[in-house]
Amino acid sequence: MLRLLYDHMDEVTALVLFGIGFTTLLLNKNLIKKIIGFSMMDSGVYLFLASYGYIETRVAPIYENGITDPSHYVNPLPAGLVLTGIVVGVSVTAIMLGLTVRLYQRYHTLDIDEIAELVRKEGK
């Protein structure tokens, strides 16, 4: 069992990271901590993809020393997916932070439950 976990250390770490991020995003009341959780969750997925695309003894897919044999290089696609994912994650984080700033300016708190309470009072 431990041997199995050790052999798949990257995947296990990635899933643990994903789990920590997911629960933080779901359960934490603080908006900033929720956003941190989201970043961790995404990082977990990126680690998962990146570790899948990494093969020991192979190098990044850029021609060097005239070697054209494909078995010398790794598949560039997972790295491309991770890059795209990072761009998406950054923009989502930005818009979420912007929303948080506007909510904070209005209600002077970062606690989502308190904000809900204030919104309800405002409605009456």
Binding site: F22, F38, L81, V88, I95
Partner: protein
Amino acid sequence: MQLWQNIPLFLIVCPLMCAVVCSVLKGKAARGVMAALSALVCVGMGLVLFFSARMGESYAYPMGAIGAPYGNELRVGITEGIVGLAFSLVIFLSVLGGWRKLKADVPENKIHLYAAMVCLLTSAMSAMTFTNDLFTSYVFIEISTIAACALISATNKGRTLYGAARYMLMNLLGSGLFLLGVSMLYCLTGHLLFPQIEEHVKMLLSSRQYLTPLSLSFVLMTLGIAIKSALYPFHTWLPNAYASTTVASSALLSSLISKMYIFLLIKIFFRSAGAQLFAEGIGDFLFMFAVVGIVMGSVDAIREHHLSRMVAYSSVAQIGYIFLGISLGTEAGMAAALFHILAHSAAKSMLFLASGKLREVSEKGDGFRNVRGAGFRAPLAGAAFAVGACSLIGVPLLGGFASKIFLAQAGIELGGWRMAVVLGALAVSTVLNVIYMLRTTLTLYRPSGRQEMVKSPLRKDVCFTVAILALIALNVFLGVAGGQVMEWIHRGIALFV
């Protein structure tokens, strides 16, 4: 390759360009671009549908020099044409119907950004309709999430900001799960295009290898999309997000956002051999969630005392119908789900536009007490609300009736305990629908003495009139020509899978 086969690509790229252009234009020009674009996309979708129906087969459109299996591609057929046409019509009519209110709700110096977001949403809609690539669909899911969040928070009120934050948080959970599912499936199959994924999934299934990770990846993707499209237990973000914002936004979001994801889910299930995994139990789970959602969404709607929030809750029940169709796992079920996507989009955007107008002609918001007699003050909006309500209840000659018939037929075809549950759920939910929809419609037409003479502040709202009339016509068309539309959908499905 013929010239028209390039249209889908432009339906994705043009809105993206327009979004960029809109963001630097002045308010009025940007609004013009937005309206012209959404009309143009309607025409484009219509052309795609026309030509692909005439050609009689679907085709794959390679993006760039690298073709399959590693490049990116679009896949276009009759089904995509029908769904895309319905979505683009709804975008156009929602924007048109909410035109006047938009000017009042969104500050003039922000309206060009609103237009940019509508363009982004249109682009995401086309991309999700046509793409044949799993990761591309993830990227456009995120684009549509961002656009939707901006559309919700367009009116600078506390409630809309809170609604947008809740929407965003739930959707981040959903997209995280979806991304993990996509990554796992990619690791298992080594491909992102649906045909190649299908091939490898079938191979894995027949050799009984990696069954657990394979089902897990499909479960994660389904769960992600279920959260994002507000299937019952995950619907908590929906009422605040839909009900509090400007009319055009809520009409757009309610009829578009969740349906786009569901169409994607249909693709995932039926194009990447996910349907075979139904036998392994995913279908049953989804079936339970859908049935519970149908009943509980209606119960929540009955307990609600505000017009637009009630309409929002009834969306939860309707999403349940669509998932019910998908979870049957048969072709008839999928066709019924697709038809319900069309019927519900037409009815729900009309209901939101109408309830926005009814709220406008009533003092002090849209609580049931305030909208009493509003049907007399805004006759067209009242009539539209009545038509939409009848459609959702399932009165003959309207879209909702046809889709309930098709769902029941799909259930009967399947037989066994599922048939009993489908018919039971349909019966119970029809009764519940009658309770809340009829009660509301009666409230709208109950004379209220004092307020009766208050006239609408916007006497002549031509855009709204045109949009509402078109939507009523669309609903009636779906009801009357339901069989014909269904025949087209079946023809499309034959090419789709």
